[in-house]
Amino acid sequence: MENCRTGVYICMCGTNIAKVIDVEAVREFVSGLPDVMLVRTYKYMCSNPGQEMIVQDIRENNLNRIVVAACSPCMHERTFRSALRKAGINQYLFEMANIREQCSWVHHDQQDATEKAMALTQAAIRRVALHEPLENLSVDMSPATLVIGGGIAGMTAALELAEAGYPVYLVEKTGRLGGNLARVDLTAPYLYSAQDLINERIFRINDNNHIYLHLNSKVTELSGFVGNYTATIETIPVENGHKKEEVKVGNVIVCTGYKEFDASRITHYGYGKLPNVVTSFELETMIRSGKIETREGRIPRYIAIIHCVGSRSLEFHGYCSRVCCMTALKYAHEVKSAIPSCYVSDIYVDMHAFGKGHEDFYRRSSEAKTLFLMYNKNDRPVIRRADEKDDCQMLIEVNECLSGETIEIPADLIVLMVGMEAREDASEVAHLVNISQDKEGWFIESHPKLEPVATTTDGIFIAGTCVAPKDIPDTVAQARATAARILAKVSQGKIEVDALYSEINKEICSGCRLCNKLCPFSAIEFNEKEAYSEVISALCKACGVCVAACPSSAIKGRHFTDAQVMAQLDGLLSPVKYQIEAVTS
């Protein structure tokens, strides 16, 4: 091995690090360690001058290893790697010691914190000596995208990509596009027609020859990796036989949406038993057909709307379904304009009017003579049949929170604002594309704030209500975000994959097959003919599961070799000493 000439940089992070750790003492300690050619402390290593300093030092002092003791590698590893590239040395000859999150932020004692910073830095110095130059992989990026689900999310994403000139396979399991939105009449808060929103898109989709639309179809298999997926699309075997097609795609967008909560699960609302207790979707159907009437064909004089059916309750779903409050207000509007004499009462828990234009919509609705009653979410309204003498079908007893009184209100038609929940086949889809679900069944994004549409599997994106309940604007924004992410990648034609992956040494692998089913990214394949296992490097995420499992140590995690990890441990456990100097004035 060539001689290591290591440069070490100790960051103060303003005062984030320096207020607890004596960085000068760390510098002094590190200066005496083997291989260390140069040590500097600096206020903000990640700043441009900080990075420039590394580049300069590498060039002038012929450094071939760099250690930065600063924040978490999640924060700035990439920043510093690019500095190494810029200076013309391999970016993997670099190691970060985390003396902020793992040290200055969690310790108060200067003595202990400084010694720990010394140990962490020493560990990084020992480790980096064993780093090897690695080259990232460059793989082809197929220009086509697979979109699963033809609701507003899927349609929007498909159009965005196709109109930029890239092929899209749009797979919808029902016989028509539009998803749940096709069941809605007007949309809150601006009362645009849902049908118009959808039809315009369907028209553009049919007109676009980059979109290959597969109705009544499902994706039954997906293999490969980012840039190079192979998907099997099969028609759902009903009429006109069964068709199966294999397509090559670079990326996948999952837009499979939601289903409504089954109102009959809250037994005492009587849904399915009382004829005039209906769900929001059933009311939408009535509104769209132009006839709001009871099952008996009478015009209702009293309509009551109950919020949060299945949502915000520990018994069913803890979350808020986000669209029901505004949809309920929309119903108040629609009912009033269809039957001006009708009394509408709106029985809610909290009025969630968080979106743009929503608060205004709420204000206008309260002016429209709607009776608002607030109930406690643990104290649901009680519905009973009215007596002969009453002039209504049903009576609802509400313990009204604002007045503190128990109020009984009449109703001929009761509308249950059913919440959203994950589709029953969501886990099947998650498994198919190798992404995770949260405990409620929604798909998990790779970072809830910074990566809302990416997943932990490269090349698999999620958008719309399959991620969590949301309204149309948010759904559309996500759909477009996925398209933007994909366009940025496919326009390059190639994609760079991190050099961190595992490799199986064919000369050692005994073909025991213990590792074969362990890879969470399905990156391991067994070569039947020669009886050994192989890692498909572009698929491997370097998670290390197989490395730990191979009883023969035939699998090596690049950049995480035993020797590197052991050297790091040695450095961590070797003695360090810090003496706080007496304060001199």
Partner: protein, 324 residues
């Protein structure tokens, strides 16, 4: 048929061992004549009456090859290990005990005191009302008698002195011994000092003909008597722990061929630091459960994990002994 080359001086010695390795040398049967044709047996306590003092009198490097079997458990073993090192050109750690510590190494799961207590006080067949214990020196009328001192720890040969080659196995497969011996005799180029010889660079599964599928999930650990072994399916897939995947091939998969799972006597593969934890890590990766209680329940029916995973290797593993 006079040999053009001078005959080699060969020694075989046993330290803390069961004697099986020495017997395995005899297993060469009629090939022994080839060995004797090529070598003078200068020291072999099981077969020849050569005293330690005779060895001490030999010039340094007098012995060409010493096959040293057994672990180092007491002062006598250590003395002989160092002595034979000095007197031998090539020192071979022969068999699992010399290689890794072997079965005697399992005693590192107890302390010397615990062992003495069991053997000299508690053992069902022991009658020792005066609670006598072995002494390294005892005076009797005729003078003083000595016994080797019993160490607290068992060590492998390589932990006591420099070893040229390791020939693994409990005992090593006789064919491997012959191959190695003939290679030395013929002067064929030998691997670098410190290498494992007479074994493969791959694990047992490479040679094992049992059917292996990707389905290695284990939902219950079974002992061999608890299954109807079909004779053709990989033991692991039948729920029986087989150390084959963590063990060098070379023995001819003799245990599995005899319908018993591999115990691991051929030792770990080249890059494995700690054979027991390697195999434990492998097995824990294929336990078919997600919930902690479920996993615990499955693990509970694994009888004697230390003995299963470290049967031959405790002294040379990272843990080396039981501490508490």
């Amino acid at each position: 048929m006079e040999n053009s080359k001078p005959k080699l001086n060969l020694a075989v010695y046993w330290a803390a061992a069961c004697g099986g390795c020495c017997v395995s040398v005899l297993d060469v049967h009629e090939k022994l004549f080839d060995v004797v044709a090529a070598a003078n047996l200068v020291f072999w306590p099981i077969a020849l009456d050569v005293k330690y003092s005779d060895v001490e009198a030999m010039p340094d490097g007098f012995i060409d090859v010493t096959l040293f079997n057994g672990a180092v458990r007491n002062t006598e073993n250590e003395h002989m290990a160092r002595l034979l090192r000095k007197k031998s050109k090539v020192l071979v750690a022969y068999g699992s005990c010399a290689h890794l510590g072997g079965i005697p190494g399992l005693a590192n799961l107890s302390t010397r005191e615990e062992i003495f207590k069991r053997v000299y006080d508690e053992c069902e067949s022991t009658v020792n009302p005066d609670q006598l214990r072995p002494l390294t020196v005892s005076s009797v009328g005729e003078g003083s008698l000595t016994l080797p001192e019993f160490y607290n720890d068992v060590r492998s040969l390589g932990q006591v002195t420099a070893v040229d080659y390791y020939l693994p196995g409990c005992p090593p497969q006789t064919e491997r011994l012959l191959e190695v011996f003939m290679a030395i005799v013929s002067g064929a180029s030998l691997p670098p000092a410190g290498s494992v010889i007479g074994a493969s660079g791959k694990a047992q599964c490479d040679e094992c003909t049992r059917l292996k599928s990707e389905n290695k999930q284990i939902s219950r650990f079974l002992r061999p008597y608890e299954i109807y072994d079909d004779g053709i399916t990989c033991f692991l897939e039948q729920g029986v722990i087989c150390l084959g995947p963590a063990t060098r091939a070379g023995c001819g998969v003799r245990c599995v061929k005899g319908n018993a799972p591999c115990r691991g006597c051929y030792g770990p593969l080249e890059d494995v630091k700690d054979p027991g934890s390697r195999m434990m890590s492998a097995i824990s990766s294929v336990i078919d459960a997600r919930e902690a209680e479920e996993i615990e329940k499955i693990v509970e029916n694994l009888v004697d994990p230390a003995g299963t995973f470290y049967r031959f290797s405790i002294p040379s593993a990272m843990i080396r002994r039981k501490v508490l």
